[in-house]
């Protein structure tokens, strides 16, 4: 066991856990958070995605000791009253079914639009490599990301 500090969604937490414990279990069990979620435990699906210093990582395989930056979860991205443009676009497009995989899609989309506010169809598809959705919301997700990009460019303009 080792004591360490985690910065999650703007709050600082002290933990006393095995250093090799994946971040996912630390967030869920030690901090009692409901995001992210276990999908595969193998970094193959994205259900456990969080941002570390703005970059998506797979919390199911990153040991808690390796988390050196600030963690942001889907819950920390926006709220119903103040949604992130990507979240609003997913609502507008009704772009999910069961929604279990949404941590990955929304956080990867937010990170993508951060570095490329006007991505091509090909860039969007590439940015989502390695994310899974079992219910078949892919087409709706593509529409949502394009809508979010349009919203952001309007805001910029």
């Amino acid at each position: 066991m080792a004591v360490m500090t985690l910065d999650v969604d703007g709050a600082s937490h002290r933990l006393d856990v095995e250093p090799e414990m994946p971040l996912l279990y630390a967030l869920r069990d030690e901090l009692g958070m409901n995001n992210p979620r276990f999908g595969c435990g193998l970094a193959q699906c994205g259900s456990c995605t969080v941002l570390m210093d703005g970059q998506p990582i797979r919390a199911c395989v990153v040991p808690v000791a390796a988390v050196t930056g600030k963690v942001r979860t889907l819950t920390g991205l926006g709220t119903v009253g103040e949604p992130h443009p990507v979240q609003q676009a997913f609502i507008d497009e009704q772009a999910l079914f069961c929604g279990y995989c949404m941590n990955g899609w929304i956080l990867y989309a937010a990170a993508l639009l951060e570095r490329d506010p006007d991505p091509s169809d090909e860039t969007i598809r590439e940015a989502f490599t390695g994310l899974k959705c079992r219910c078949g919301s892919h087409s709706a997700i593509l529409r949502a990301v394009k809508r979010a990009a349009a919203t952001l460019s309007e805001q910029e303009g």
């Binding site: 869920r28 193959q44 699906c45 119903v80 609502i91 069961c98 929604g99």
Partner: protein
């Protein structure tokens, strides 16, 4: 079943669950319960109006729905239907579902019947409630019933609309105490009639409009509660220990091997083995570290390469030319043989479809709190009533003593691993005397879930001299559509139950082709074969989104294309030639019109030599009442073997359209899920075990290969009831893609999935046969 009618027993159940029940139900249930000071005040009988509807002091309506929504907005459509019957705006109707103490068993999510059958009792109850409210309103206003009318949730005097009284004032919080005529059935068949008929569809104002889902904002904000998020005080975490060879059982277990993990314990009952621990990560580690000696068994499965020949060789257990329900019908083999013997020309083809996994986004999760004489189950199962009954059975409790509470899970398309997880949590909770949460690892959602069955389809057609079809035969042979019943109430049909020696109760279920093709002799039948392993098999079969639909129609609709090619016909025209006038032909025409279909015989004019080629493929199917036609545009890269279904045009007749927005979404989801199954999905196994254990060994469609466009034509039929849409378009997709691949390449792919390797192999084989022809 008596407990549904006995309010007293239900109160006992609530006590059994304790106060934590109320704090941990799904968010939508929690909201309704908070507003309800006596949560179980209603007599939960299917023959009581109050079972389905409650109107609070503010005139807000809660509809209690005994089926389920699995992310397709079924509950929204239920709200629309209830709103229309009660003349209410949509935002004053809530729908509560998934709690066995608050809803009657309407069968959960099952066969796309959520609206088709599930809405009926609620529509009838709402119509009846409207009648009662009119009478109460007239009474309150001191006039005759024919002097009042209803609008916007209030009864008003026709002669003076300012004189009005709202529903809340009339009944708010109280009982209707009105009986409905219940048909005595539970599950999908449950229905209840009121004394008045529901509205004519021409009077609908809310039905037919698009409404968004209500749970969606919470989901995208990450604040929606899923089954994996349920936490109960004093809860432990469990993991099932699976054998290295399917069918093998634990002989001895070294508990000391997990001694270093504080609080970790072994649960070993009969041949069932699991570990529980205080923290989830500890349970994961204990499952990895536990040392077990397993029994030596003969590897139960054939070599993967031998699967289809095994099916061809295996003795037939059940055979029928009928459908899945009712008495078996003997196929008239003599008639079809005679027709084919007389034919001028006969074509034959065989099609093969693999085992497929539900592979839900997360492995199933359940929490069970066993309290000696009662239990509470939190489950992501799409049939919470049946799952709770199953838990009662495996725990030896009366059905009424287990409350099942549905909390959204990681996707559900049939009988996936959720039913097993419910049983696992129950067995472990009983063993340790504390609530236990179970969630599998990835392999348990992919390797150990019940599978969609593998099958081989033998097609023959005869033509007369003029090229008319003179005889048609489709023989389908494969594993049962579900030796694991989709109803989760029988522990025999669960992994834990099998290992705790519940008797084997395999179900030999089959199905038949869904279309209205008319041929002079037209024989189609299904043959089932025995499971490869009777007990606790990772290749148990069960319902997966449109059970047997993709298998059967991959064969039948590809063969229709082969028949069209054989007589040099356009595949749309050829289909229409054999379809009667009506909804089926209309749907096919609607798809071709939207597509802009120019007639032509499928296939390239010359064999393509490489690069990317394009093609189009059509398929039409019927699933009971709903009718779907799909046209797929594909790109095939002959150098890499990649098939990209770039565009789909879909026409769909689901009867009256209730919520166009979510009907479209639902069809879109079906199309993409089915494209994934057609192109990528095949459960891998060795003689010892299933080797599809993750997303590498069980690949599915990813964003790079998602279609660019899915263009959907909704053929609205306001004169018909609403039919299910959750599955029907699924079966139309594999043949549409395969037919498009043929059109692009001239390669007829008769084995699913159409992987890159298979396309390249088919191309090599075509090249070889062409060059051998050239040299001969």
């Amino acid at each position: 079943m008596g407990w549904y009618d006995t309010a007293v027993k239900r109160r006992d159940v609530l006590k059994g669950g304790g106060c934590l029940v109320v704090s941990l139900v799904a968010p939508q249930a929690r909201r309704a319960l908070a507003a309800e000071d006596r949560p179980l005040w209603r007599a939960l009988s299917p023959g009581q109006l109050d079972t389905y509807l409650k109107i609070d002091e503010n005139g807000r309506v809660t509809a209690f729905f005994g089926k389920m929504d699995m992310g397709q907005g079924v509950d929204i459509s239920i709200a629309q239907i209830v709103a229309d019957e009660l003349d209410l705006p949509m935002d004053r109707v809530d729908v509560l579902m998934g709690d066995t103490a608050l809803t009657v068993n309407q069968g959960g999510a099952s066969g796309s019947t959520g609206i088709e059958r599930g809405a009926n009792p609620l529509r009838n109850a709402a119509a009846e409630a409207r009648r009662v409210l009119l009478e109460l309103g007239a009474d309150r206003l001191g006039v005759e019933a024919d002097e009042v009318a209803v609008a916007e949730g209030a009864v008003y005097l026709r002669a003076d609309p300012a004189r009005r009284v709202g529903y809340g004032e009339l009944i708010g919080g109280g009982h209707f105490d009105v009986r409905l005529e219940w048909n005595g059935r539970y599950g999908n068949a449950l229905d209840a009639l009121g004394s008045v008929a529901p509205k004519d569809p021409s009077a609908y104002r809310v039905v037919g409009q698009s409404f968004p889902r209500r749970d969606l904002p919470d989901i995208v904000m990450g604040t929606h509660e899923y089954i994996v998020d349920v936490r109960v005080p004093d809860m432990m975490h469990g993991r099932v220990i699976r054998p290295p060879v399917a069918g093998s059982v634990p002989v001895s277990v070294n508990g000391d091997s997990i001694g270093a993990i504080a609080g970790a314990r072994v649960v070993h009952e009969g041949d069932y083995l699991a570990v529980v621990a205080e923290r989830e990560w500890d349970a994961v580690r204990a499952a990895q570290q536990l040392e077990v000696t397993w029994s030596e068994v003969e590897p139960p499965f054939p070599e993967m390469d031998d699967l289809y020949d095994h099916i061809r060789r295996a003795p037939v257990v059940r055979e029928s030319a009928g459908g899945p329900w009712g008495a078996d019908v003997a196929p008239d083999r003599d008639a079809v043989q005679a027709a084919l013997d007389r034919a001028d020309r006969v074509i034959e083809a065989e099609y093969e479809f693999p085992f497929q996994s539900h592979a839900s986004m997360g492995p199933a999760c359940a929490v069970c709190d066993y309290r000696g004489d009662s239990a509470t189950l939190w489950t992501g199962s799409q049939k919470p009533h049946h799952a709770a009954e199953g838990v009662a059975n495996i725990l030896g409790l009366p059905a009424g003593n287990v409350r099942g509470i549905w909390v959204p899970g990681p996707g559900s398309y049939g009988r996936n691993d959720a039913g097993d997880a419910a049983m696992d949590a129950a067995v472990m909770s009983r063993a340790v005397g504390r609530p236990v949460r179970v969630q599998g690892m990835r392999a348990e959602g992919t390797a150990w879930d019940p599978k969609a069955p593998a099958s081989v389809h033998f097609a023959r057609a005869g033509f007369d001299e003029a090229g008319n079809v003179s005889g048609y035969e489709m023989r389908m042979k494969g594993f049962s559509a579900g030796d694991t019943d989709s109803n989760e109430s029988d522990p025999s049909h669960s992994y834990a139950g099998a290992l705790l020696d519940w008797p084997n109760a395999s179900v030999h279920r089959l199905d038949n082709q869904g279309d209205l093709y008319e041929f002079p002799v037209n024989v189609r039948y299904w043959q089932t074969i025995a499971p490869l392993l009777e007990r606790a098999s990772p290749l148990r079969t069960a319902h997966l989104r449109d059970p047997l639909g993709p298998q059967i129609h991959f064969a039948s609709e590809c063969f229709m294309d082969e028949m069209a090619v054989a007589v040099g016909a356009d595949p749309v025209e050829f289909r229409l030639r054999h379809l009667p006038e009506g909804r089926d032909a209309d749907v096919l025409k609607a798809a071709t019109e939207r597509y802009g279909w120019e007639p032509g015989v499928p296939g390239p004019t010359a064999p393509p030599t490489g690069g990317v080629v394009t093609g189009r493929g059509v398929a039409y199917t019927r699933r009971g009442s709903p009718v779907v036609a799909v046209i797929a545009d594909v790109e095939v890269d002959l150098d890499t073997g990649r098939v990209w279904p770039r565009r789909f045009v879909v026409a769909s007749d689901q009867g009256i359209v209730v919520n166009p927005l979510w009907l479209r979404r639902t069809i879109e989801g079906n199309i993409i899920h089915a494209a994934s199954r057609a192109l990528y999905e095949e459960v891998q196994f060795t003689p010892e075990r299933v080797t599809s254990v993750d997303w590498i060994s069980y690949p599915i469609l990813e964003m790079a290969d998602a279609p660019e466009e899915i263009d959907i034509v909704l053929v609205n039929r306001p004169e018909l009831p609403p039919y299910g849409a959750g599955e029907p378009s699924t079966r139309t997709v594999p043949p549409a893609i395969a037919n498009a691949v043929f059109d692009a390449t001239g390669l007829r792919i008769r084995r699913a999935p159409f992987t890159r390797e298979r396309i390249l192999a088919a191309r090599r084989s075509a090249d070889d046969s062409r060059s051998s022809q050239e040299f001969s």
